[in-house]
């Protein structure tokens, strides 16, 4: 057993029996994988350290660790450990269960079938591991923690492999530009430089510039003052162009923290926390975020820039002219 694992065991001796229980369950289902109890325990401890201890000064309670361990995708982790160890039977199982899925995902993402095959091949090589460190082969499987499903992890590995493939063939392109070419990509936009015409009165122009500057500052600060989960929702919707149903998918799990943060004060959630999240719910969250932004935006224009209600309306109209904005309901026509 590694030193880290021993340390962890000392911290949470109450979890020992649960880990044994998980091992026995997995081992019963896959007795030929050759995974030792210590292998699984080491991996579980590593996962606990990574997700529960790494980013918090507060130590997790025993109950938190137990709940966490119960949520681990133990069968997937067991398979991954066995594959990392090079167990033939486990690899056969993995190949049987996941190869065609990997190929379909790669074909979905890649531009050509050749690219897709190349990516799947390189992922297989990476999963097995060709690098040897201190006499031991390093398998990509060792980085899978069991926190999410193995299939979800494989999707991510395929996605990254595809980005790497593109980077290898386009040395001069930045990572940001590259990611735009994988999947559906971005649609960047910038503030339009409005051409007001050469005949615009100079004084008028100066006033308009002042309003524009105030508007930009107010919108920037209003966004900056949102909570992170609200920012992320808006970024997913406006920058990543995720549709409402795609965002709903992201928060489908009733334990989803994003969902929890938005519904913290919701009466309906308290009554029935497992209710399905519909597109209309995500739309309401967006509307609440917009309302919050609008309130802070107006407050800054009035309090900091000392603008009157009329001037505030001018700011909004100027912004509308400049930006020809889209509205929240654009996705409802397409979903």
């Amino acid at each position: 057993m590694s030193r880290e694992a021993i340390q962890h065991e000392n911290l949470f001796p109450e979890c020992e029996s649960l880990m044994v229980e998980i091992y026995e369950r997995c081992s019963e289902k896959a007795p030929n994988f050759g995974v030792l109890a210590e292998h699984l325990k080491d991996s579980l401890c590593k996962t606990v350290r990574k997700y529960l201890q790494n980013n918090s000064s507060e130590e997790p309670t025993t109950e938190e660790v137990k709940n966490f361990l119960r949520q681990i995708q133990a069968d997937d982790l067991f398979l991954a450990i066995a594959c990392a160890n090079g167990n033939e039977r486990a690899w056969w199982e993995f190949d049987q269960q996941h190869r065609s899925y990997l190929e379909r995902v790669a074909r979905h993402l890649a531009r050509t079938d050749i690219d897709a095959q190349e990516v799947v091949d390189s992922v297989y090589v990476e999963l097995y591991g060709t690098r040897v460190v201190n006499g031991e082969r390093v398998s990509k499987f060792a980085t899978y923690s069991g926190r999410g499903s193995l299939r979800g992890w494989l999707r991510t590995v395929i996605w990254h492999a595809l980005v790497d493939l593109h980077r290898a063939s386009h040395d001069e392109v930045s990572l940001d530009e590259m990611t735009e070419n994988v999947g559906e990509g971005y649609a960047h936009a910038t503030f339009a430089k409005v051409n007001l015409g050469g005949e615009v009165d100079r004084i008028n122009q100066i006033a308009k510039d002042r309003y524009r500057k105030a508007t930009l500052s107010a919108i920037e600060n209003a966004f900056a003052n949102l909570d992170d989960h609200e920012k992320l929702l808006l970024l997913y919707y406006h920058v990543e162009n995720l549709k409402l149903r795609e965002i709903a998918r992201l928060v489908e799990n009733s334990e989803s923290p994003l969902r929890g943060w938005f519904q913290r004060k919701s009466v309906s959630r308290e009554k029935n926390p497992a209710t399905r999240i519909h597109e209309s719910t995500v739309m309401r969250w967006l509307e609440k975020s917009y309302a919050k932004v609008l309130k802070m935006f107006r407050t800054e224009l009035q309090a900091v820039h000392k603008l009157s209600e009329d001037e505030l309306n001018i700011c909004m109209e100027l912004a509308t002219e400049d930006l020809a904005g889209q509205n929240l309901y654009r996705n409802l026509t397409t979903t």
Binding site: N32, I219, L250, E317, A319
Partner: protein, 140 residues
């Protein structure tokens, strides 16, 4: 939308303003400002909605600032939906896999133009008689 006429015009205006602001912000601040990206394990777990509040806090904070990782998670959500109804298992025998060492050796030959058998030198042996039975179909 039936109730569209009741929407405050400022609500629509603020959406447009925010939309352009966020897009222009992303154009200016690319992910190069981030020292480290999230690993595949964390990205996948987040995209599946599996993380607790305690685990998700630092990740959400990272995603707000890192356009690269955020884009990956968005693509993963799309992929997840695209394959939601996908048949997950190929019927047994339909696609009989080869012995894994052969599969990987072939891959290496194709990728590097050589058969690097040394890499597989420590390949595990059959563990017991049950294994032999199970492995019959996949060995030559």
């Amino acid at each position: 939308m039936e109730n569209k006429e009741f929407i405050n015009p400022q609500d629509i205006q603020i959406q447009g303003l925010l939309d352009r602001h966020l897009r222009s912000q992303v154009s200016r601040n690319n992910s190069a400002t981030q020292e480290r990206h999230l690993d595949e394990d964390a990205l996948a777990a987040f995209a599946e909605g599996n993380l607790s509040e305690r685990e998700a806090l630092p990740i959400v904070s990272h995603l707000v600032d890192c356009s690269f990782c955020r884009h990956v998670t968005a693509e993963l959500v799309r992929l997840d939906l695209a394959f939601a109804d996908d048949e997950v298992r190929v019927a047994a025998g339909e696609n009989q896999p080869s012995k894994i060492s052969e599969v990987l050796s072939n891959l290496l030959s194709r990728i590097f133009g050589t058969n690097d058998s040394a890499v597989f030198a420590h390949q595990e042996k059959e563990e017991d008689s049950e294994n032999t039975e199970d492995s019959k179909g996949i060995e030559k």
